[in-house]
């Protein structure tokens, strides 16, 4: 495989993982209105769980320590990671959703994010602390040539993207998706119609956690390593930017958003003038640029480049002509 093909395959893998990640936050925030500023910790949980499931037991001489170590093959390590993330997401959800206020949600989740970071960093017995997990075996990695492995992983990530896309697509077109949007718009009004907000929020959060766990698991399997550097809490910003820029509330918007922000960051960086030779500053400038774009979107086009469509299925085709005469009442306010 030539250099160019390798680059493209890598790009596809990373882009699809990123898209899966964005889809998750889009379900939580875009559709159900749950602003999870600590979304990145769900990704991290997925990565850590998949990692310790895939790794062999930690060596007894203890210079690399971590819990777990089941040596499970693909796809069981990934599925384990996803399951753990959903479970943790459910626990998190039960903690924060019992209180209605947006602020408690945001503050609590943010604090949890930083606290978790501190705990994992300072307690090496969990996930090898600051150094993190290393040499995580990818799916059939040892049995394939490097080129073949890349292609296999590419196929895996695309299949995963397809699956999660299908899942969320179906859900958001269903009455459940409509109920989610109802609690996003006005939770009290939704409750006045008999909707149970806690259950609905937990469901949305869990679906989002599933996606995040999948993305995290795929990341750790691809990169082979994972530590706290990879998930600084304000990384959530990048995912949030994708959701806002792309189109809140529907999967297509999320995918478009992930492509656009990813594209802006990767490709756009080639065209930005190098400032005084400080190449190391490039990521910083990129994210600042993205920050400005997001604020501009919030100001002018808060629903994103591709706002969610009005009707989620072709209801209008079913609307028939008015039949018969009813005694009618109109109010035009």
């Amino acid at each position: 495989m030539g250099q160019v093909e390798f680059y493209i395959v890598t790009l596809v893998i990373l882009a699809s993982i990123n898209a899966i990640n964005v889809i998750g936050l889009n379900v939580q925030f875009g559709t159900a209105g749950l602003l999870n500023l600590a979304y990145i910790i769900l990704l991290a949980i997925g990565a850590y769980a998949t990692g310790v499931a895939a790794l062999p037991p930690s060596p007894s001489h203890g210079y690399v320590t971590y819990i777990g170590g089941f040596s499970w093959p693909f796809p069981w390590d990934l599925l384990f990671g996803m399951a753990v993330t959903v479970a943790c997401g459910a626990v998190l959800g039960i903690i924060v959703f019992t209180r209605v206020s947006v602020w408690y949600l945001a503050v609590t989740l943010t604090a949890i994010g930083y606290a978790l970071l501190t705990v994992i960093n300072d307690e090496p017995r969990l996930f090898n602390g600051y150094v993190g997990l290393l040499n995580v075996p990818g799916p059939w990695e040892s049995q394939l040539s490097q080129a073949d492995y890349q292609l296999v992983f590419c196929a895996i990530s695309l299949i995963c993207l397809g699956l999660i896309f299908l899942l969320t697509w179906r859900l958001e077109r269903s009455p459940l998706g409509r109920a989610w949007r109802a609690i996003r718009e006005d939770e009290t009004a939704a409750m006045a119609l008999g909707k149970n907000p806690l259950l609905l929020k937990l469901l949305a959060f869990s679906v989002g956690s599933l996606a995040a766990g999948m993305a995290g698991g795929l990341t750790v399997l691809y990169l082979g390593s994972w530590n706290t550097e990879a998930w600084q809490p304000n990384e959530t910003f990048l995912v949030l930017a994708a959701v806002i820029v792309g189109g809140r509330g529907w999967t297509v918007g999320g995918v478009v958003g992930s492509l656009v922000t990813y594209d802006l960051l990767i490709e756009g960086s080639k065209y930005l003038p190098v400032i005084g030779g400080h190449l190391a500053l490039l990521p910083t400038i990129q994210t600042m640029f993205l920050g400005l774009i997001v604020m501009a979107m919030l100001w002018w086009r808060p629903w994103g480049l591709l706002p969610e469509p009005k009707e989620r299925h072709r209801l209008w085709a079913w609307l028939k002509e008015p039949r018969g005469s009813h005694p009618t009442v109109t109010l035009d306010g």
Binding site: L167, R170, L171, S174, P175, L176, G177, R178, A179, R181, A182, E185, D186, T188, A189, A190, M191, A192, L193, G194, K195, N196, P197, L200, L203, W303, K310, E311, L315, W316, W318, L319, K320, P322, H326, P327, T328, V329, T330, L331, D332, G333
Partner: protein, 257 residues
């Protein structure tokens, strides 16, 4: 019109009391509402009418006393559980789902939707029920000539139309009793008559029980068989409007010190 006096009341409120911010907003309220009644709830500002409604519907949960609806003790139940028993409320400022279309607003209402449960949402099998709900929603839209607005965002319709969307949406939940919080607020004078006609029809033809908080006494007079009067957190009278106008305690509550 009250139904047979021997029948059990649909709603029974016993010694309801609630205080917040050091003020006893509701101070021991007891009354009953029978099936088919159209009961008004009037009183001067600050009498505690809205607070009472909030308690009954479950918006406020830390009140004292008992609320029994349709034979079930729903005291201190949360808003959504109360709504599921058939006791449904509207709000003084209409609450609609802004970024859902009018039609979607109505479609959120029917209870026990299969498609809202995860397995069905995922696997399908909810479309037949949804089609049925769609027909109900269509009928509601036609009743109020809102059909051209079906695909408009609820945030973009006029104030009176919002009220209508909220009320017809409440109706689509199949309620046994409506708690209306000043339904005529924000409705233009020309349309108040029509709204009143509709409420009257709901009560007299469909037999829907209604408790209506209202400031506009002429509406209460036209629509309600009788009315409760609240002042300073207590119920001070319950009678037909004609009698209430002559009741010295009521007069004092409205106009006195």
């Amino acid at each position: 019109m009250a139904s047979g006096a021997g029948a059990a009341p649909l709603l029974r409120v016993e010694a309801l009391a609630h205080a917040f911010g050091g003020v006893q907003a509701v101070n021991g309220v007891t009354f009953e509402v029978h099936r088919g009644e159209f009961l008004g709830l009037i009183g001067p500002n600050g009498a505690g009418k809205s607070t009472l409604l909030d308690c009954l519907s479950g918006q406020i949960r830390d009140y004292r006393g008992r609320v029994v609806f349709d034979g079930q003790d729903v005291s201190r139940w949360p808003l959504f559980r109360v709504a599921r028993t058939g006791l449904v409320r509207s709000y003084q400022v209409s609450r609609v789902f802004d970024r859902l279309t009018v039609l979607s607003n109505l479609l959120t209402a029917p209870p026990r939707q299969r498609g809202e449960r995860l397995p069905w949402a995922l696997l399908g099998g909810w479309r037949a029920q949804e089609r049925h709900h769609l027909e109900l929603a269509q009928a509601a839209l036609m009743d109020f000539e809102l059909t051209p607005l079906a695909r408009t965002y609820a945030s973009e319709v006029s104030g009176g139309q919002r009220r209508l969307v909220e009320l017809s949406r409440a109706l689509l939940t199949g309620p046994k009793m409506l708690l209306l919080d000043e339904p005529f607020a924000g409705v233009s004078p020309a349309n108040r008559r029509r709204l009143g006609d509709w409420l009257l029809r709901l009560n007299q033809e469909a037999g829907l029980t209604i408790l209506m908080v209202e400031h506009r006494l002429e509406q209460v007079e036209r629509l309600c068989s009788s009315a409760l009067v609240m002042a300073a957190g207590r119920v001070i009278a319950r009678d037909s409007m004609a009698n209430l106008r002559r009741n010295p305690r009521v007069i004092e509550a409205y106009f006195g010190g």
